[in-house]
Amino acid sequence: MTQESVKKIRISRVPGGKAAGGRYLVFDIEDVISIRRNNGICAVLTGTMPQNPTQNLFLGLPVELRVEEVRLLVDSGAAYVAEELAEHLDALNKPNHEAYIDSLREKRVSAQKAFDEEKNRVRAMHADKMKDKRKKDTSASIAQPAGEGGDDSLFGGDAVPAPHTKKEEETKPLPAITPATSAQLVGVSAGVDVPIPPALPFYRHLNSKGYYTTPGLRFGGDYSVYPGDPFRYHAHYLANAYGWNEKIPMLDVVTSGRLGTAVKKSFLFGAEQPASTPEEDGRVRMFCVEWAGM
């Protein structure tokens, strides 16, 4: 097993949100890919652009997870939850951050390298083009008067421009970077406990059967449930999780069933049946409602 595959996903808990515990965010793109690919969790992109914070059509990192998704990942051992604010304060209050500052410098140097490489590539491309053009020009202008040849010297004909001098490179400051994560500062932590949400058994059951879920508000439920990755499938169900003895108004069942049918979905609701003995696990029962067409 490589070092990469045993690396646990870091879920950042930050204050805020409607739940008491706060919000759960993932900042590392590798982690986001991993939970989608390996755990069947899409989560929701929540990051917007600092320069245009009101646009919400195209959102980016971080992604926000529901508590049940967090709990699922933590229980499976794939992730840990870090108390982000406390850990950052802790790390910043330590006397020296040499390692962190070094890591930042390293990143800036490698960013500079990447820029330089790109610049040289573009330059070389232009040089090739110029050469081609010049060849064509000269072959076409053989019969031309000699005076025309002056163009070449005027526009720096011998394409490749002189490279920067050594001195120039040294004095130029390294580019500024915005790191996507502060992993270098805080490192890996032991992880904190996450509350068990009431919907966890329901959600875990769906996830274990390979269903993907997204927030279901647009169809009036807790979840939209997809039979595979939402990039490939339409949702099959709009779903609500209830308690085993929670009373559901029939009007809710009827309206959800009706709305679901209108968008070619069925209304799925379910609950965990408590186990008869403490040793056993509960069993999740699910029911699907759709309009009968009569």
Partner: protein
Amino acid sequence: MAPTQHMDALVRIVLNNLEYQHDWTQINTHTQRDLPRKLIYGLPPKRLYVHPDEQVEIIKAEKERKDRIPQEAEYEWVLPLHLSEKWSPAQFAAVFDAIKALPPVDIEDDEDGDAPWRAWRGPKRGKRILLATVQDDSTVTYYWIHDGLVKPRQN
């Protein structure tokens, strides 16, 4: 009115609605000790539910036979409910656990019993109940409720 009278009135509304508005036949009520309330079963004039996978199998079979397969109606369970009621998942589970997939009627087996397109018929079908929700103005609306994850029909 006593609670039983309320219940009888509710069942009566649904019975009448099934018989006179939806032309059901052979309608009966079904009482069972472990059932939370009286159920109704009967035979609709035409087939009410075709599972999407069954539909695919039927089309395949029809292509092979180069002939339509007649879809005769099936007996269905009906659960009368008032719109103002509140039911818990536990109650729905109790109803499903108490019933068999098919209402208690004699149905003759037919010769195509093992064909793949027959796998959703008769006793092999998944448990399903028609929720007959009655409103105060005696409007009755019908919704399928399936036991377990059943994918939606492509209406």
